[in-house]
């Protein structure tokens, strides 16, 4: 116990102790499964029979696989469009809902609720109904005079947008994070700015935005990872159709692993994705020092 106290009082060892739960958890629950799946990526494996080591065979297959490139393209498009849109909406709405009125609780719930129902079957059915040829969206367009009898989900160019809109609609979690970090900005800073006679816009750019950059960065990293690993939207609504135009990478991986039982190949796909996301995250971290405010308050 004494030893523990002593360790706790030194900065270098205290840090190790505080992060110990994660270290143990990582070693106990993550490292072995991750290692096994890495091993599978070098194997011919169909779940039911034992894996057979085939070296780089899976990766060779991958680089000759047209669908692999197609799904990469779709996924990049989805991530790079949906993530920024989602973040902008989240921030905008968070700013709007910062104001405390009697209705605030209701408003926040309303904007957050779509995230709660997540990827259920009900959402899938509903989303398809909305964008159907005789659905609400076309009816609205007809109401404003555009004669639209378009099949949004049936067209290879528009189907992906239906999924993007779904992803953007569920911006609640980023919004909540923005909201809670907006709350962390000391009022005193704004009061001081008021004394200086600053208007709303300059206060936003001079105080709010800079102090929010760490949170923006956090959301950006998390949502990027999420965006690249997006699965549900495509899986429950389009299954990659039509013509693979909405085939997310993870959905392709899933098909290979659990529908065609090319599970080794699926694992290889997953590790390539890890490398891609890792690289992008690394790039994001490299830009951090140029725009993220690190000074604390």
């Amino acid at each position: 116990m004494n030893l523990f106290k002593k360790a706790m009082s030194r900065e270098s060892t205290a840090g190790i102790i505080f992060t110990l739960p994660f270290t143990v958890g990582f070693l106990l629950f993550m490292i072995v499964p991750m290692g096994i799946s890495l091993y599978y990526s070098f194997c011919k494996y169909d779940i039911l029979s034992p894996p057979v080591f085939t070296g780089l065979e899976n990766f060779r297959t991958m680089f000759a696989d047209e669908t692999f490139y197609k799904s990469i393209k779709v996924t990049f498009f989805f991530a790079f469009v949906s993530v920024p849109l989602r973040l902008i909406f989240a921030l905008l709405v968070a700013m709007l809902l910062l104001k405390t009125t009697k209705m605030t609780g209701f408003y926040r719930a309303a904007y957050y609720l779509p995230s709660i129902i997540g990827g259920s079957v009900a959402v899938a059915i509903l989303w398809k109904r909305m964008f159907a040829t005789d659905g609400v969206i076309n009816k609205l367009l007809q109401a404003v005079g555009i004669d639209c009898k378009f099949s949004w989900l049936g067209d290879t160019k528009t189907a992906i947008w239906v999924l993007i809109i779904l992803a953007v609609w569920q911006f609640g979690s980023s919004m909540l994070i923005f909201l809670s970090s907006l709350k962390q900005i000391p009022m005193s800073l704004y009061e001081a700015a008021n004394v200086d006679g600053a208007n709303g816009i300059s206060k936003f750019f001079k105080i709010t935005l800079p102090l929010l950059t760490p949170t923006i960065f956090f959301n950006l990293v998390m949502q990027m990872i999420n965006g690249f690993l997006a699965f549900t939207q495509s899986y429950i609504i389009t299954q990659g159709k039509p013509m693979n135009s909405t085939l997310f990478y993870t959905v392709y991986m899933y098909q290979q692993s659990f529908e065609f039982y090319n599970t080794g190949y699926g694992a290889a796909l997953a590790w390539v994705m890890l490398a891609i996301i890792g690289l992008i995250t690394l790039l994001l971290f490299a830009t951090k020092k140029f725009w993220v405010y690190e000074g604390g308050l």
Binding site: D46, K128, G154, Q239
Partner: protein
């Protein structure tokens, strides 16, 4: 043989290592202990050695997929069995179709399969070649599992390499369910055993007369193609290591339906399907849609789905069923084991498993609870006795199978070998491309022939 041996070795070493860790593994609650128990017996039964002496005691896990009705009835039938055989109890484990196969595959990897499990024809070969199912032949021979009242063909369909690995719970047949109200309106007569050309003619006529379009199981049509290919001297689409056709020619008529249909307007546009839930009977274009443009006069399915279609049909829509069209219906038609049941090698009490399947097959009590929800019972005796207690649509299905299909059919294709699911996906992708006008029927046929053969060869390695 070599491969088999390797599997057995791997299975037993795995079991041994797991058994070893079972000792050191702490706590984990009573259920964990239960599964650990299962694992240890794997070492004994994993090599395919049959029967342990049945204690007639204990808890068996029975797994299946299905909806609320099926879950309810199956559990009730299991409870009834426990009532009749004190000391035996069951854990019913049910999941949704695709979840079921993920769970089962994962459990297979860990050698902790449920004792008795529902099998599907499409997966049977895979599970058998990997030595995961118990050979039931000895139990049939010693009378534990009585199949005297069942047709040899049907029992044969649950077999691989002459050994019985599963017993169907019901008999099914490919069925073409159609909207009688529409066909009457269009003034066409639907006769059994149509040819594909006749089918196309009828579709065109119906479109002209009523505006109602056609759907040939868009997106899930591999079974139809299989049946059509059987029409060519009984060719087997999914052969071992290759596609069992002579040339790409045999695929052309199939793709032609889509190509011409979409071009000429009588086939539902592919975009419509994007707005529906794939595989959902409630949203099948036969029964669901707001205008004739998005609706079909016909659905290609299995005979046991007829009741579900009737449930889903809007008021005033009368449905009937007939055979799938083919060049040579007698060769194409077949009886299919619907929903097989197998005993897994991980079971520590395969005898009780076999007894349970016997009860399922031969007990009228049991079948009066299940009410042919999985298809017509395979025992002709049970089927006959059960008939009066079935609904009108179920009775219609029974007479369809007995009078239309049985006298005019051939043995089902052997269980699909590895690679069939990937080729099925390819078929659907090509069909999609044809509908979107990216490929002609001839090009699609050619691609299916080359790429399909490549996949099958790759998988057989």
């Amino acid at each position: 043989m070599k491969k088999k041996l390797a599997v057995i070795l791997a299975a037993s070493t795995m079991a041994a290592s797991l058994a070893a860790c079972g000792g050191s593994g702490s706590s984990g609650g009573t259920e964990a202990a239960g599964t650990a128990g299962n694992k240890e017996t794997t070492a004994q039964t994993g090599g395919g050695a049959p029967a342990q002496e049945a204690g007639g005691e204990g808890l068996l896990t029975v797994a299946w997929w299905g909806n609320q009705t099926r879950n309810e009835r199956t559990q009730a039938a299991l409870d009834k069995y426990s009532e009749l055989n004190p000391g035996v109890s069951f854990d019913g484990q049910f999941s949704e179709w695709s979840d079921y196969w993920n769970k089962l595959a994962t459990a297979a990897a860990g050698h902790s399969l449920p004792d008795v499990l529902q099998m599907d024809y499409a997966y049977l070969d895979q599970y058998v070649t990997n030595n995961l199912l118990v050979d039931l032949t000895p139990y049939i021979e010693d009378g534990t599992l009585n199949v005297d009242d069942c047709s040899q063909d049907i029992i044969g369909s649950g077999s691989v390499g002459g050994k019985v690995y599963s017993i169907p719970i019901g008999i099914n047949a490919p069925a073409m369910v159609y909207n009688k109200t529409i066909t009457a309106q269009a003034g066409v007569e639907i006769k059994d055993n149509m040819t594909l050309d006749e089918f196309v003619e009828v579709s065109k006529k119906i479109y002209q007369e009523t505006g109602c379009k056609t759907n040939m199981a868009y997106g899930v049509s591999q079974e139809i193609l299989q049946a059509m290919i059987r029409g060519y001297d009984g060719h087997v689409l999914f052969d071992n290591g290759k596609l069992g056709v002579d040339s790409a020619e045999e695929f052309i008529p199939f793709f032609k339906v889509y190509e011409e249909g979409v071009k000429e307007g009588w086939y539902i546009e592919p975009g419509v399907f994007a707005e529906l839930t794939p595989g959902s009977i409630e949203q099948d274009p036969l029964v669901y849609g707001s205008s004739p443009e998005t609706m079909s006069w016909v659905a290609f399915c299995w005979s046991n789905q007829f009741a579900a279609f009737n449930n889903a049909a809007p008021e005033g829509m009368e449905l009937d069923l007939t055979t799938w069209p083919s060049k040579d219906p007698k060769l194409s038609n077949f009886l299919k084991p619907a929903q097989l049941f197998s005993v897994s090698v991980d079971s520590k009490d395969p005898v009780t498993g076999a007894r349970l399947i016997d009860y399922w097959t031969n007990s009228l009590d049991c079948n009066q609870i299940l009410l042919a929800e999985r298809g017509v019972p395979i025992s002709s005796k049970v089927a006959e006795e059960l008939a009066p207690s079935l609904s009108e649509s179920d009775q219609k299905v029974i007479s369809f199978i007995n009078e239309v299909v049985t006298p005019n059919s051939s043995q089902i294709n052997p269980p699909y070998p590895n690679g069939s699911s990937e080729v099925s996906d390819l078929i659907n992708k090509l069909e999609e491309k044809v509908c979107y006008g990216e490929l002609t029927a001839e090009e699609a046929a050619e691609q299916l022939f080359t790429e399909g053969n490549k996949i099958m060869a790759e998988k057989a390695k």
